[in-house]
């Protein structure tokens, strides 16, 4: 199930944004997944829920936006808590 490795890659991206913005927590994560991305949104959410424990995203809900009949798979937006 490649959704776990995709979520791991997303957390690397999120970590880089947190460092750049000196954020202390993530309050919401939004991704866009197209029907041709080769990604199952349900499995992606399951992987996210497992992975986010004890991370800055621990309390951040995941919003998955349907990107239609495309191969889009993007980290779209984060809500960050910055001091």
């Amino acid at each position: 199930m490649h959704e776990y490795s995709l979520v791991q890659a997303m957390f690397d991206q999120i970590g880089a944004v947190i460092d750049a913005q000196r954020a202390v927590a993530v309050h919401r994560v939004r991704v866009r997944i197209g029907a041709r991305a080769g990604v199952d949104p349900v499995l992606f959410r399951t992987a996210y829920d497992i992975y986010r424990v004890k991370t800055p995203c621990a309390a951040a809900p995941l919003d998955i936006v349907d990107a239609g009949a495309t191969d889009e798979l993007t980290l779209d937006q984060l809500e960050l808590e910055v001091p």
Partner: protein, 243 residues
């Protein structure tokens, strides 16, 4: 401040990202691709189910092309070096990429694998992906072309069941054609029709690694990928061409 989502809290701010989740993989894939083009190496990402005949195709390719071109293989598998061992026995340079639990190769694995092969001396580098019709399709490895092996015993509807994989394919090799006399229910025409529904530029060759059927078409297709190097060929064999 809203208690449910934090909106209105001046310390909580939205940040637009709009970046592909596989952006990191894509960067390494671009790096691999630059390497291949700088050294005139044609790179082929060979995908397909476990048992589709990927390794047998590479062995047959060694027999058909090995005396005319320098070939090398990076063989991905969850465990064992069996495929690389078989391919080396056929006279091709080969190294394994053992992925452990990973169901696909990514660009970084290929990059590390290149350090094990004298790849700069090759004319063709085949990347035999992990046997799987789902996960490998979404990872760019830096290849020139994607080729999918689909054996005649897998079922005519596989292109419809796994559309992402076949959508990404530049060529589908319908393998184990020597078994067709024993499979009267299998229709090449139906496979071809199904590929036409999911491939942007349908291209299919029917081959048998065992008898050599169709291998000359496959070799010709590969040689087309190598010319010209600045414009990789996609589907030069033509839609649904059968030998």
């Amino acid at each position: 401040m809203c208690e449910s989502c934090g909106c209105g809290d001046p310390k909580v701010m939205p940040f637009e990202i709009h970046e592909r989740i596989l952006a990191g993989n894509d960067r390494v894939a671009r790096h691999n691709r630059e390497h291949f083009r700088d050294h005139d190496v044609v790179s082929v990402n060979l995908m397909g189910s476990p048992g589709a005949g990927k390794t047998a195709i590479l062995e047959a390719t060694a027999r058909a092309l090995g005396s005319k071109a320098r070939l090398g293989v990076l063989a991905g598998d969850l465990a064992t070096e069996n495929d690389a061992t078989r391919i080396r026995a056929a006279g091709i340079l080969a190294e394994s990429i053992t992925t452990g639990s990973a169901c696909h190769l990514d660009a970084e694995m290929v990059h590390r694998g290149l350090h094990q092969l004298p790849w700069r001396t090759l004319d063709y580098l085949f990347i035999e992906n992990v046997g799987n019709l789902v996960c490998p399709a979404i990872y760019d490895l830096g290849q020139d072309v994607n080729v999918v092996a689909l054996s005649v015993t897998e079922g005519e509807d596989k292109p419809l069941k796994y559309p992402t994989m076949f959508h990404k394919a530049d060529l589908v090799l319908v393998t184990k054609a020597d078994l067709l006399p024993h499979l009267p229910e299998v229709s090449l025409h139906v496979i071809q029709q199904n590929l036409t529904l999911v491939m942007p530029r349908p291209a299919m060759l029917v081959v048998s690694a065992k008898t050599g059927l169709g291998m000359d078409y496959w070799i010709r297709w590969l040689e087309g990928v190598g010319r010209p190097r600045s414009a990789p060929c996609t589907g030069s064999a033509g839609a649904g061409q059968l030998p």
